[in-house]
């Protein structure tokens, strides 16, 4: 990771990588979602509404993986003072919040025809809502630190502490057996029939690559803005 400590070296890799990730992610997402909409059969129990899985599961994965990445970047910022770690954490926050919000909205749209309700204060649903609030608080905290021209040390600590919610979300369906179904996909296999399951990994990979492209674009924007600010300060001081 320390080889990326030099922003110029990072930009030398990020510039050619961004369009590749974006286009490949876009194509895989379209294939996964198209197959999920038109090529898979309806579920024997849920019927057609199972197709919401192809947008709901990737967004849930990205909401949780996003905060895990944010926490890892925060740790690198606090422990090793990696110059790009704080930038990476700030760049992850907005797409992480968006996909968490998409997860909650699509979950609600899936819940209405399946469970007969838009919302329930169930362990999984509530812990995902807490994750969205954590993202919003992090964005506000990091933004306020940047405006005051301070380092984002407080935001980094917040990012690290907020990671406590990730295992809570993961194990919520085991700890509180209320409305949300248990884990359908585990390391040992899946309870979903393969005729329905196969587009899901394609959609998940596609959304993940798009997420990575968004993070790289936001990191490049933050680095460029920091260069502009530093140059303007030097001009003002001269």
């Amino acid at each position: 990771m320390h080889i990326f400590a030099n922003p110029n070296r990072f930009l030398g890799i990020a510039r050619p990588l961004t369009p590749w990730l974006g286009w490949l992610g876009g194509v895989l997402t379209l294939i996964g979602l198209g197959a999920g909409l038109f090529l898979t059969p309806p579920d024997y129990l849920q019927g057609e509404s199972v197709r919401i899985m192809y947008v709901h599961v990737p967004s849930a994965w990205l909401g949780m993986a996003g905060w895990t990445g944010l926490a890892a970047a925060s740790l690198m910022q606090l422990v090793w003072r990696h110059p790009l770690a704080g930038v990476a954490a700030r760049a992850i926050a907005v797409p992480g919040a968006l996909f968490t919000a998409i997860c909650l909205a699509t979950g609600s749209l899936w819940g209405r025809p399946t469970w007969g309700t838009w919302w329930e204060w169930d362990g999984r649903l509530t812990s995902m809502l807490v994750l969205l609030f954590l993202y919003i608080a992090y964005i506000a905290l990091a933004g306020a630190s940047a405006e005051r021209g301070e380092g984002s040390r407080v935001a980094a600590i917040f990012g690290l502490v907020g990671a406590v919610n990730i295992p809570v979300i993961h194990y919520s369906v085991l700890w509180w057996r209320t409305l949300h179904q248990g884990q359908s996909i585990t390391l040992s296999g899946s309870t979903i029939d393969s005729s329905i399951l196969w587009p899901l990994p394609i959609a998940m990979l596609g959304f993940t690559l798009l997420f990575a492209a968004i993070v790289l674009m936001r990191m490049r924007a933050l680095l460029a803005m920091a260069r502009v600010e530093a140059r303007l300060k030097r001009l003002a001081a001269a």
Binding site: L33, P95, R218, A221, R227
Partner: protein, 47 residues
């Protein structure tokens, strides 16, 4: 109950949100990098 309005709404929210964020991030990146390049060129011309 007809499930398709729920499916279409879920896909529309996901596609709209993702495409919107990709576009916004791209425009913000291009603007910021263009501003940084313009300042760098000005400094090089002034030097």
């Amino acid at each position: 109950m007809n499930h398709w309005p729920f499916i279409i709404a879920a896909y529309a929210i996901t596609a709209g949100g993702t495409a919107g964020l990709v576009l916004w991030s791209h425009v913000a990146m291009r603007r910021a990098e263009a501003a940084a390049d313009a300042l760098r060129r000005r400094r090089e011309e002034g030097a």
